[in-house]
Symmetry: C2
Subunit: 114 residues, 2 copies
């Protein structure tokens, strides 16, 4: 994982609305949520939300798919796990450390080739 990618991902998460948004999707699971539902849940104007969704998508943290008129967004657990792993790489010089993989990524979430 490249450090530029990681910076983009961290920048994406380093904002109140996007952090709430990402956590909402993490908790929603692989089924995800429609943009409208997210806007309502967060109380953010549609155009603002769209901006934030684009940031997270561009950072590779969430995925988009269409369902009729709605666009459904869902968290990319693989990307997230890669991010956490990068941050703790070679933790403490290699001693007493393990890879961070808090969420099983292989179930129904194989959209991306993370």
């Amino acid at each position: 994982m490249e450090s530029e990618t990681v910076v983009r991902a961290l920048s994406a998460l380093a904002q109140e609305h996007r952090l709430s948004l990402f956590r909402l999707l993490v908790q929603a699971g692989p089924d995800g949520l429609a943009a409208g539902a997210i806007a309502e849940a967060l109380g953010v104007p549609a155009s603002s939300l769209s901006f934030h969704l684009a940031q997270l998508t561009n950072a590779g943290l969430i995925a988009q798919r269409r369902d009729g008129r709605s666009l459904i967004y869902s968290a990319d657990y693989g990307a997230m796990n890669a991010l956490l792993g990068f941050l703790m790489e070679n933790c403490c010089g290699g001693a007493m450390c393990a890879p961070a993989a808090p969420c099983d990524t292989k179930d129904k979430n194989e959209r991306t080739a993370a």
Copy 2:
């Protein structure tokens, strides 16, 4: 953990120099590194580095201690683990998830009451 704290921590990490700096300290372990050694390792002017160190300290991600004329900085593993845990809280609606604690925090690193 408050979301404002998390945003501050993520903002602190969302910058090339600070990300490198934090990872350097993570890999250096609890002994940490002096500001001067960090500046040399990263090739950043002292005043710039000082700015970045202040950001990470303010975010609670690193700790500072004095050793003679040098200020030694070290990663706060407890804060980091709390951050990772927050991001993945209630992952997938509670199913197939575990707390993220990639690094054992109880060894020689009990400076902070994380």
